[in-house]
């Protein structure tokens, strides 16, 4: 009964306390899916298929993505939360480590010679730094529908909205990377679909600077399945320490070493 303000209020309040398959968990420590080994959680959420999320995270935050069904695809853009003009640069991210395929130890580099986040754990190994996310034009021709509010939203449409909620515009959307659905490049450059490594894999990122992260959970553009095949994506985060001289990865390669030096130089100058 919603025929009066008091009744409408009672009706609305009676809706509280319920759960759904995709929702943020507050406080984060109440997550029913708390990862083993995590510290006090600062972010816990299940992102719906075709959904998105975004968060500003402290330096040193560890972010874990879980793909419980094998059908998640986490498209990710990261920014320096203090100066979002510093953002993921996919070309530098593959060129500077001399490696196109993302995996544990791979830095996500900005265009400013710093590490925004490091991939610190990876049980999937099926990822992509070539194809970016889907556009409305792509989904229209593939699924016949690309409405952001419809059954087959494009990753870019979700990034546009996530970015807007931090005062950013489409100019601020660089190419993204994606996790949990892989492609490989054959000898003549052709992309070979690798797809998922199966259900139950995870990827963990470590925020090396104060981080704005945008996540769109939509099918990889080259997913050969005709249906909009997407599964839930779980996200958990907790506070740890950023990469420093005591970590093996700080010294792993000369390029990564100088990237971490640049990152720490920035952080210390800013008093972080």
């Amino acid at each position: 009964m919603t025929d009066s303000v008091l009744n409408a209020r009672a009706d609305a309040r009676a809706r509280g306390g319920q759960t759904s398959d995709w929702m943020p968990y507050l406080p984060a420590s109440s997550s029913p899916y708390r990862p083993a080994g995590s510290e006090a959680l600062t972010w816990a959420e299940t992102v719906a298929p075709g959904g998105y999320t975004h968060k500003v995270l402290a330096r040193g935050t560890r972010i874990r993505f879980d793909d419980p069904t094998g059908d998640a695809c986490a498209h990710v853009i990261v920014y320096n939360a203090l100066e979002p003009v510093e953002r993921l640069n996919v070309a530098d991210t593959v060129k500077i480590p001399w490696q196109a395929y993302l995996g544990a130890g791979h830095p996500l580099l900005s265009g400013d010679g710093r590490v925004l986040a490091t991939i610190v754990e990876d049980t999937s190994g099926h990822h992509d730094a070539f194809c970016g996310t889907s556009t409305e034009a792509w989904n229209q021709q593939k699924y016949g529908d690309a409405r952001p509010e419809g059954p087959s939203p494009a990753g870019r449409s979700l990034f546009v909205k996530a970015a807007a909620k931090h005062g950013l515009t489409p100019r601020d959307l660089p190419p993204s990377v994606s996790f949990f659905q892989g492609i490989q490049v054959d000898a003549d450059g052709t992309f070979v679909w690798q797809g998922s490594a199966g259900e139950g894999t995870s990827v963990e990122l470590l925020a090396e600077l104060p981080l704005l992260i945008l996540v769109a959970n939509v099918p990889h553009p080259l997913d050969p399945r005709p249906e909009y095949a997407a599964g839930p994506l779980r996200v958990h985060a907790w506070r740890t320490a950023p990469t420093g001289p005591d970590d093996d990865r700080f010294h792993a390669t000369p390029e990564a070493h100088r990237a971490y030096l640049n990152t720490i130089d920035y952080a210390e100058a800013r008093g972080l």
């Binding site: 003009v85 640069n89 996919v90 070309a91 530098d92 593959v94 060129k95 500077i96 001399w98 490696q99 196109a100 395929y101 580099l109 265009g111 400013d112 010679g113 710093r114 070539f130 194809c131 970016g132 996310t133 556009t135 409305e136 034009a137 792509w138 870019r156 515009t169 489409p170 100019r171 601020d172 959307l173 660089p174 190419p175 993204s176 490989q184 490049v185 000898a187 003549d188 450059g189 052709t190 992309f191 553009p221 080259l222 390029e255 100088r258 990237a259 640049n262």
Partner: protein, 226 residues
């Protein structure tokens, strides 16, 4: 003029140069030379054809493309690659925007493949790749900023780019890097806009890898109306 400014290297004396000619015949509407280390930009009209000449051979021309009517729509490496299902740029490649729309089409190409994976060099990334002692070197990102600001473009508008005449293979294990080029003096690529486009080019000044054969040479930009 004498100066103590360390402006970087330029062509070795006596470097062979071949200025060539348009790859597609037509009435020449623009014909400009881009000095080593310099930047260039122009609006190229739909239906015209831009020929880029690698005058000295293996000189990377880093390139960004924008819809001239709305620069928020710009070249997108992932869209270009995903739509064609291949990591390299060759004749027939449609250079797509961040909306998935065709911006330009490669209509002629005289080397095996063109790069769009390797991105642009910068003062900042040079410190990772080669050390902090090269921070003072010039870079393509510097050129893109200087040239872009003439059109109201800034750092937010710099995205992953094309590298004409640069060679970046991806090996079976994912190893990737800039290696010796496959071009030569006078080799050309021709691109035809599908809509009016703003083209930014940085004649790559990098002196720490083979993207310009360690010998920065000029580029020639020719626009014809076929």
């Amino acid at each position: 003029m004498t100066s103590s400014v360390p402006v970087g290297a330029t062509s070795a004396p006596g470097s062979p140069l071949d200025w060539s000619e348009p790859l597609v015949p037509g009435e020449v509407v623009l014909d400009e030379r881009v000095a080593p280390n310099a930047s260039w930009s122009a609006v190229v009209r739909a239906g015209h054809v831009l020929t880029i000449v690698d005058v000295g051979g293996n000189q990377s021309g880093d390139c960004l493309i924008y819809n001239a009517a709305d620069t928020e729509e710009r070249y997108s490496v992932p869209d270009t690659l995903a739509w064609q299902g291949n990591a390299y740029v060759r004749t027939g490649t449609v250079l797509r925007s961040n909306l998935g729309n065709p911006l330009m089409t490669v209509v002629g190409n005289e080397i095996d493949r063109q790069d769009t994976i390797g991105g642009a060099c910068s003062k900042e990334s040079n410190t990772l790749r080669y050390g902090h002692h090269v921070m003072f070197h010039h870079g393509c990102r510097e050129n893109f900023l200087s040239e872009g600001q003439k059109h109201g473009l800034g750092l937010r508008d710099l995205v992953s780019n094309l590298n004409w005449f640069m060679n970046v293979p991806v090996e079976a294990d994912g190893a990737l890097g800039i290696v010796d080029g496959m071009s030569a003096p006078g080799k050309r690529v021709a691109v035809r806009p599908d809509t009016d486009v703003l083209v930014l080019v940085s004649n790559c000044p990098q002196m720490n890898n083979p993207c310009n054969d360690f010998n920065p040479t000029p580029l020639r930009m020719i626009v014809v109306r076929p």
